[in-house]
């Protein structure tokens, strides 16, 4: 997991994105990204079950692939129905799957384990299968 986070931070640095892992925030405060300033805040106190790696990948996706005009600040939410959030979920999974499964042949890939280690809820199944098999 540390490898994965380092890889994501490497992507952030290469793309001129600043990332902060903050311990000052309340448990209910979401992670944030501000695309116009290329900044990401990850709340380390969050009571979210989703792994930090996925949350980081998600916020990075907003900045890397999102449209700036649509929202000015993005807040992480695992149950969000907004299209911008769903797209960021998909992109985040693609980003992680590409890294994790780069040396694994398709027939050995297990997207259920993949989802479990990232702490993703079951309705991510379709998205996860697609991301893992296409990685």
């Amino acid at each position: 997991m540390t490898d994965l986070i380092n890889y994501l931070l490497f992507i952030a640095i290469r793309n001129d994105i600043k990332v902060v892992f903050s311990e000052d925030l309340d448990t209910y405060t979401p992670d944030l990204s501000v695309p116009s300033q290329r900044k990401v805040i990850i709340n380390r106190n969050s009571n979210n079950n989703v792994s930090v790696a996925f949350r980081l990948a998600h916020e990075l996706s907003h900045i890397l692939f999102g449209s700036v005009e649509q929202n000015r600040v993005y807040a992480f939410s695992i149950g969000a129905t907004k299209s911008s959030e769903r797209i960021a979920h998909e992109q985040a999974m693609h980003m992680i799957a590409k890294y994790v499964f780069q040396d694994t042949p398709v027939e050995y890939r297990n997207y259920i384990n993949f989802m479990e280690s990232l702490g993703l809820p079951s309705y991510f199944e379709d998205m996860a299968r697609e991301a893992v098999m296409q990685a």
Partner: protein, 111 residues
């Protein structure tokens, strides 16, 4: 730095030479070299800015911010957060005290 020097520098960072940059932008091979002496046309400059992934303003030397989306945001961060439509999370407002911390973190990131 002049426009020509800026284009040259960024092209180098992107691993392109000026001829390649020009052709990718749909210009003639030596178009950019002409900009040493001539003022470029706005549509040609826009095409080059798109290829290099920077703003036209940056190429012109009006700003040191490479990315155009930065210039849309208010310059002052406090202003920016205050002008951001009420931030909600799962339908709930983020408390003012939390917003203050977030604002401070964002400001600290600039150091």
């Amino acid at each position: 730095m002049t426009t020509f020097e800026r284009i040259k520098e960024i092209s180098k960072q992107r691993g392109l030479n000026l001829k390649k940059t020009a052709t990718e932008a749909g210009l003639s091979e030596n178009a950019i070299y002409k900009w040493k002496t001539q003022t470029p046309q706005s549509n040609a400059l826009q095409a080059v800015a798109d290829v290099l992934g920077v703003s036209v303003d940056y190429l012109l030397g009006n700003t040191d911010e490479m990315h155009s989306n930065k210039k849309d945001a208010p310059y002052d961060l406090k202003e920016f957060i205050d002008s951001t439509p009420v931030l909600k999370y799962d339908g709930k407002d983020i408390p003012e005290a939390e917003m203050r911390i977030i604002r401070r973190i964002l400001e600290d990131m600039d150091d």
